[in-house]
């Protein structure tokens, strides 16, 4: 399917907390082909500063409405400009980019931390009606706005917060072994901070469960042309996170 470069209409733009926003785009051509785990490369300004696009995961898709939602945290100038886009306006998008998750296995566990939870929402939706279990970690209750996004697609949500303000106090790695021992999972999907994903991969390997991880690297082109996002792979070759990934099999890539 040819990749699209479109001006998508912004139909909704809401705040989940002080820093996190959800922007919903009406974009039939993007929606049509999008796979969970793929991302959109967004131009945040027509000015020259900041110059580059911003990669944001597809968080969810409403096929009926032909809309796509991106959930992002305001961390710098680019996301600050993105947050200023108003409903009714247009957003310059390239996508859907990259290789998403491979939907496979009968008892999947989804493990997300921080903003890494974003792509798991659409993944859970596409895994339905298969029973999906989700383990989510955040710093605190304020950061744990995700459950309502999963509400329609998954009943089984485990939550950890660093400060214990919601769910189990601690992080996902603390509760993961216990979940794995009782859950009988045959596939783990994970996205989040690298240390968390390393912990997940370690457990998955220990219990011999196949695991897919979703990486983040600084990206210029997003289409495999500039080589700013590559990482080493266990076959000795290189992989581009933007086109070969962002989703890889655990063990496929090194240097992350």
């Amino acid at each position: 399917m040819p990749k699209q470069h479109v001006q998508a209409k912004v139909v909704q733009h809401i705040a989940y907390n002080e820093d996190v926003r959800a922007i919903t785009l009406f974009a039939p051509s993007l929606v049509r082909d999008s796979q969970p785990g793929q991302f959109i490369h967004v131009r945040v300004t027509e000015q020259y500063h900041p110059l580059l696009r911003r990669p944001i995961s597809i968080c969810d898709i409403d096929h009926e409405q032909q809309t796509m939602t991106l959930v992002y945290r305001i961390i710098g100038e680019g996301t600050r400009l993105l947050a200023a886009v108003e409903p009714g306006g247009l957003l310059d998008c390239m996508g859907p980019l990259g290789n998403g998750f491979i939907l496979q296995g009968n008892r999947p566990l989804l493990v997300g931390g921080g903003m890494g939870v974003a792509p798991l929402v659409y993944l859970a939706r596409m895994l339905c009606p298969q029973p999906v279990e989700v383990l989510l970690g955040a710093r605190s209750k304020q950061e744990m706005f995700w459950p309502e996004l999963f509400a329609a697609v998954c009943k089984n949500i485990h939550i950890t917060t660093d400060d214990g303000s919601l769910g189990t106090r601690g992080n996902t790695i603390d509760v993961l072994p216990q979940l794995i021992q009782t859950g009988n999972y045959d596939m783990i999907y994970t996205c989040g901070p690298n240390p968390m994903m390393r912990g997940v991969v370690e457990q998955a390997q220990k219990y011999d469960i196949p695991c897919q991880i979703s990486l983040e690297k600084h990206m210029a082109c997003g289409v495999g042309a500039c080589l700013s996002c590559t990482c080493g792979a266990s076959d000795g070759k290189r992989r581009k996170v933007c086109t070969d990934g962002p989703v890889f099999w655990a063990g496929e890539v090194t240097e992350w």
């Binding site: 110059l51 082109c221 042309a225 290189r238």
Partner: protein, 307 residues
């Protein structure tokens, strides 16, 4: 896009291009990565990523950083090597009707010669010498900052190929005209400039350089004034055609380079921002010419009046 090729075509040292808008090495992959976004048949020429004898993994750590109206990169010449390029990649680009210019980088003078020889294959329209890449410790920039070494590279490459040879100059020199004169004298068929300026960014939270390679190459709109100046100085001084680049984002930018003396231009960083840039700029140049009743783009090359 329906471009007026009669109005826009240029011939750079025997390389016939439908439009004067090429793509800069390292910023457009092998062209095919952008096939979904731009009609490759309407691009002036595709200059592929710097290619080396052996495959290279490139630099470790973060490879790009944004700076005001620009970006730094330290890719470090990651590439699959010339053999893989010729065997598997070139045929893919050759499916399109667009000249392919191969940007080459050697660790030694001899390697440049070997690369040129290996690239004497159908489907390659020209060779661009990357004697100016700031991101590789060995070689690279050294050739690009000394007129004699640059000339030596050109000479050995010319001995090993009948293809047009374009010398790509580094802007990180005191006297760009001396560099240009040296490569012209040595037999270069065209000159392209500018490669990136050397820059650095520091993370004030971690007290570490942002880039894995500490320093990197600055590109984008920020460097345009330096690029226009160098193109103007060089175009006045040499007889061979000049390919201008550095911060071109719009047709207006491209026209500035043409007026300064560039016979063709290349779009680099702009591809990342808007993948349709190369053909949109070609259309914009056409509009500019048509509005002024100018029938051929060559008629405005070097026409800036400085006296």
């Amino acid at each position: 896009m329906m471009l007026d090729y009669q109005q826009l075509s240029v011939d750079i040292a025997g390389i016939k291009m439908k439009t004067p808008v090429m793509t800069g090495s390292g910023t457009f992959g092998f062209g095919v990565e952008y096939a979904d976004y731009v009609d490759l048949n309407s691009v002036g020429a595709v200059v592929v990523k710097g290619t080396t004898l052996q495959p290279r993994a490139g630099n470790r750590g973060q490879r790009i950083a944004e700076t005001p109206a620009g970006m730094l990169n330290c890719i470090g010449l990651e590439n699959p090597g010339v053999e893989e390029f010729i065997g598997n990649i070139l045929p893919q680009i050759n499916r399109y009707d667009v000249p392919v210019i191969v940007n080459i980088a050697g660790n030694t003078v001899e390697e440049y010669g070997q690369l040129a020889k290996l690239l004497n294959v159908p489907g390659v329209a020209g060779i661009e010498l990357n004697i100016s890449c700031p991101n590789v410790k060995q070689g690279g920039l050294a050739f690009g900052t000394c007129p004699d070494s640059a000339a030596t590279v050109v000479e050995i490459v010319k001995k090993n190929t009948h293809l047009p040879v374009i010398a790509k100059l580094s802007p990180n020199v005191t006297d760009i005209v001396a560099m240009a004169a040296a490569v012209e004298q040595a037999g270069a068929d065209a000159i392209s400039l500018i490669n990136t300026l050397i820059g650095m960014a520091i993370d004030i939270h971690s007290w570490r350089p942002v880039l894995g390679n500490v320093i990197g190459g600055l590109s984008g709109p920020a460097i345009k004034p330096v690029a226009v100046r160098m193109v103007w100085q060089v175009a006045k001084a040499v007889k061979i055609p000049v390919i201008g680049m550095g911060g071109i984002m719009t047709a207006e930018d491209a026209v500035e380079f043409l007026l300064a003396g560039a016979s063709a231009v290349a779009v680099g960083t702009a591809n990342f921002v808007n993948p349709g840039t190369a053909t949109e700029i070609a259309q914009g140049i056409s509009d500019y010419l048509t509005k002024r009743g100018i029938t051929q783009v060559g008629q405005i090359v070097g026409k800036v009046q400085t006296e």
